[in-house]
């Protein structure tokens, strides 16, 4: 049983979003509250509430968007401060990190002295430190800000509710069986727990009795599993390093899966031109290449965008991913309704190859977003980046955008161009000219009055064609509150005699072809 110190920062998403605990703030993801500040909690807000419910319970509630990348980045200085006196630190998730106390507490004169020192350096973000036997108990101790003496962990745990096991189904069942505390659960014989609740139940039982979840077979792997990438020229920008890291993550996962191993703790190492070495450990369960690459991206983001005292002084020249602990791989659960994983992996590899040929931004996928014009209704995201992160950045701090359902398709967007949508959307709108019956240019006034009926169209300085049918103008006045993004234009649909349909726009008296119904 390892004595463990856990640093726990309460409501980290709120702190990372730059709010103090005294403000009523809720952090939302998919319209549900994922974290809230102490003031909001006092007002009755809980995790899992819908946005409307939360706002109803706590008037004046401020909303923030869940941003895992930002949280990880903001946590980096805290980790750096704690690492000042404890080596071999592991980040459990943004807001929580753990460290084995055996060495440090001897050096600093006991667990109490160590906890006091750590508490002091993390006090500015409201962090607390706790020490107990095993990380699970230590996290609970950190919430209480206590140091549990050696051997008293089971007694400390026995009063907690079974809900703290973070297994909602099991907790619900236990409540109905009348087993409400960890003490009562731990008192059951392990064999019966295994028979009734399965392997996961036994794992929970081990936690409840003060044991460790994963001493199972964790071992430090032989060093040849490390994967390394030399970066030449040195990577100054996060994107460049992340691109290399993604390839490494795939290689590492392939290496491990070829040996039938799964990763449980990852070490990210980087070296800079000036010979600095940066090392961080991340704990993760069931690592897929994507999850791995995401952790590395958070870490590199933290390092490269960090302020100077902790951050590197030059570009990164070397990147190494090393498996710190591995477990035997117990196999991957395939989707219940089928789905060809091998096919997806093959496509992913090919796209990675194309990214290698042309650069990471060359391969994109489209994510539906809200908007009125055909070009605004989708956003192109570099392939492999989490679309939610892009949406989050787009929507940060803007309540109007928060109201939009992210997955269920766009809100009404009054004034949007109706379906069917054009199959060709000109990235740079093509200049066009439209004239009336007597050859005079057609103008649209600010109130939408048209000077003449459009009869002839010329696209890009080409020959004139007669207009067979038309509708418009549909006035759009967008983002009038923002002087830079403000646009006023009038849209038209036009069909020429040769059967081509265009979506035209007039902006500032100039006509252009926005899209073609090809």
């Amino acid at each position: 049983m390892t004595r463990t110190l856990v640093v726990w920062c309460p409501d980290w998403p709120v702190t990372a979003a730059g709010h103090s605990p005294d403000e009523p703030v809720a952090v939302l993801f998919a319209n549900r509250v994922v974290a809230c500040s102490a003031a909001a909690r006092a007002g009755g807000v809980q995790r899992g509430l819908r946005r409307r419910q939360a706002e109803a319970r706590c008037p004046g509630l401020q909303l923030a968007v869940h941003d895992p990348d930002g949280e990880a980045r903001a946590f980096e200085p805290v980790v750096a401060a704690v690492e000042g006196f404890c080596p071999r630190l592991e980040i459990v998730r943004p807001g929580v990190c753990a460290v084995a106390t055996r060495g440090p507490s001897r050096y600093f004169g006991g667990d109490d002295a160590l906890a006091a020192r750590v508490t002091q350096v993390v006090a500015h973000v409201g962090g607390r430190a706790g020490i107990a036997d095993g990380p699970f108990a230590a996290e609970l101790a950190a919430r209480a800000g206590r140091v549990i003496p050696k051997g008293q962990t089971p007694a400390f745990l026995s009063t907690f509710s079974v809900d703290v096991l973070e297994r909602p189904d099991l907790a619900d069942l236990l409540h109905r069986l009348g087993i409400r505390t960890l003490g009562a659960f731990a008192a059951l014989p392990p064999a019966s727990v295994l028979a009734r609740f399965g392997a996961d139940g036994l794992c929970a039982h081990r936690l409840a009795s003060g044991g460790d979840e994963r001493p199972l077979a964790a071992r430090i792997p032989p060093p040849e599993l490390d994967v390394t990438a030399e970066l030449d020229p040195p990577a100054e920008r996060v994107e460049t390093a992340v691109f290399a890291a993604r390839g490494l993550a795939h290689r590492l996962c392939d290496e491990l899966s070829a040996r039938g191993l799964a990763l449980s703790c990852l070490r990210v190492e980087a070296e800079t031109e000036h010979g600095e070495t940066l090392v961080r450990r991340w704990r993760l369960e069931g690592a897929t290449p994507l999850a791995l690459a995401e952790r590395v991206r958070w870490q590199l983001d933290g390092w490269l965008s960090d302020a100077k005292p902790h951050g590197p002084t030059a570009g990164l020249t070397l990147l190494r991913l090393a498996p710190e602990e591995v477990l035997p791989d117990e196999g991957r659960q395939l989707g219940f309704w089928g789905g060809d994983r091998a096919l997806d992996d093959r496509a992913a590899r090919a796209l990675l190859h194309v990214q290698g040929l042309l650069g990471p931004e060359a391969v994109t996928t489209a994510v539906p977003t809200g908007g009125r014009g055909p070009a605004e209704q989708v956003q192109l995201v570099p392939w492999g980046d989490a679309p939610s992160a892009v949406l989050g950045a787009e929507m940060s701090g803007n309540r109007t955008f928060l109201r939009q359902e992210r997955r269920e398709g766009p809100s009404p967007w009054p004034g949007r161009v109706p379906a069917p949508s054009p199959a060709v959307v000109h990235g740079n709108a093509i200049r066009a000219e439209v004239v009336g019956e007597r050859g005079q240019p057609v103008k649209v006034s600010g109130r939408g009055d048209v000077s003449a009926e459009p009869t002839k169209l010329s696209v890009g300085g080409g020959p004139w064609t007669d207009i067979a049918a038309w509708a418009g103008p549909w006035l759009v006045d967008e983002r009038w509150w923002d002087p830079d993004a403000h646009r006023r234009r009038a849209r038209w649909q036009v069909v020429t005699v040769d059967g081509t349909a265009h979506l035209l726009a007039v902006e500032g008296g100039r006509w252009s072809v926005e899209a073609t119904y090809d």
Binding site: L357, L358, A366, A419, S421
Partner: protein, 199 residues
Amino acid sequence: MLPALVDLLPEGGLRRGSTVAVSGSTSLALALLAGPSQAGSWCAAVGLPSLGLVAAAEVGIALERFPLVARPGEEWPGVVAALVDAVDVVLVCLPRHVRNGDARRLVAKARDRGAVLVTTGGSIAADVRLSVASSTWEGLGRGHGLLRARRVDVVASGRGAAARERRLSLWLPSPGGGVEVFARSVVEGATDRANTAVG
């Protein structure tokens, strides 16, 4: 394959390893991709920076399985070759001049890997050629209404099983969205009879 397009292709669908050249309509090319995409296949588009992705989603393409390489530049044969290896249907806008060797290699690679190459622009030795003979929009008047539906006459020709010319009138899109058959006529030789049959 979308049911409306079954009669257009010689084997009732996109045969693995074949090349289809589409001219005259981007929507038609997207409609070809929609069927496989709905069935769970991966599709990709190369060299189409101005593709209307909302239209792609409307016709039924799953955007999360539809990666785009908008500007492959000079590297396009390499990019297409890499994608043909792993993706079921690749939509390529060919540059104006395609080197014979490149075209032959890509067609051979698609045949070897069992992928389907759908091309627009340029010219390539395709198994099936689809071209739009005429298209008529409905729903728009002089100063009122909006574009609702389009009738297109598609001509399919090619070599081998596709040598017999086929003509099909489609709603692309139909008034209710989607692709539907307007009227069909399979013609051997005589185009005049087809026109009377349609009319």
